[in-house]
Amino acid sequence: MPRRTDSYFDKLQRTRVWHSVFRSGAGSSTLHRALVIQQSVFLHLFSTKVRRRMLTFRATWYLGALTLGTFFILVVTGILLMLYYHPSVPQAYADVKDLKFVVSSGMFLRNLHRWSAHTMVFLVFAHMFRVFYRGAYRPPREFNWVIGVVLLLITLLLSYTGYLLPWDQLAFWAITVGSNISSAVPIFGDQARFLMLGGHQVNANALLRFYVLHCVVLPLAAVLFVAVHMWRIRKDGGLYVRQSEPGVEALRESKADEAGVVKV
């Protein structure tokens, strides 16, 4: 049975339409497999060749990929939630209540969005710690660390702007407190708060600004920086693996060296 589906797939790969879309053509030679990656606008961000041990669980704990996974969930559920949400006062609160109590699977999608958001923040930090403690931030990957910090800030800003959108008491006071913190910045703090809220109070302008930031500006920035982040992995020589890893014997040998085995 798998063989028959394989042959259907092979036939499909030989059609003219397939060739017009995927230039790499059929075949499983090293060249073909490299072309599949290199000639796709999405896949060419990634390395054409990856070492097997880069893809083991112990190399990265898959934390970056899992973060990207939660981001995809957030984009899909966020777009669906936008279909029932009006960023206006006081309609926003009524819309969130409708999503919870009236819309079919609305509560499921809203909770999925919220839990994924919390999970993404957790995973971003876990990814960062993992990269830090493995020393994967060191040259030539130091600029990718900087991009990662930008992505951390975007993630936190997405969390913060999304927090206001339900327009309940929790949201209102959280943004009141948060925007007052930003006014503590020397010299232009008050101006930053004024621009962020579009006024002196957390009101309709602030809700609309946070909505635009949350649904348009910050996700676009995130997609852009994630693309550069992925591309830099390829440019910086692939996912980080220590040269002496993960061969257990090599580890034992190095430990034996450290233990002061006399070399002749």
């Binding site: 699977s105 609305g106 499921f108």
Partner: protein, 161 residues
């Protein structure tokens, strides 16, 4: 139970790996269909914040004999003639523009593409394919004229008071 020993081994038609592959693909298919169903349910609103199709047009004394009154908000004509009252949908049957009553000519005309209708909604000219529909009209318990914009009735079924 010595017969058991002679039982021939069951011939395996698919391998264990194939079985699990099929189970995996089938469960993905079930999940995909379920996702589509849930998405369809989510995209269909359960509650609409649209205006009610039933409109209260007030007391019949407000509509003198031989008058045609356009309720702009509800897009209906309330007409009082010798035979009684009736109401027409004011939306042109061509492409949905709001028609207007022309008292000097005694016709209903559409400004968009020139369709013309009689006072009873019959098509006189223009691209409109159908006459303006008559809407269900009745007197409420309080004595007000009520119109249901979602229910059409046969033409010339006058409401007599």
């Amino acid at each position: 139970m010595s017969e058991d020993k002679t039982t021939p081994p069951i011939e395996q038609e698919i391998s264990r790996r194939e079985l699990f592959t099929k189970l995996g693909v089938a469960s993905l298919g079930v999940a995909a269909v379920g996702t589509l169903a849930f998405t369809y349910r989510f995209l269909s609103p359960n509650v609409l914040y649209e205006a009610s199709p039933i409109v209260n047009e007030g007391r019949s004394e407000g509509y003198p004999l031989d008058s045609v009154t356009l309720d702009v908000n509800s897009a209906i004509y309330l007409v009082h003639v010798q035979e009684g009252f009736f109401s027409l949908n004011a939306i042109c049957t061509h492409l949905g523009c709001m028609t207007a009553w022309k008292p000097e000519q005694g016709i209903i005309a559409c400004p968009c593409h020139g369709s013309r209708f009689s006072r009873e909604g019959q098509k006189l000219a223009g691209p409109a394919p159908k006459p303006l529909p008559w809407l269900k009209t009745w007197i409420s318990d309080d004595g007000d004229i009520m119109v249901d914009r979602s229910t059409t009735i046969q033409p010339f079924a006058f409401l007599r008071i």
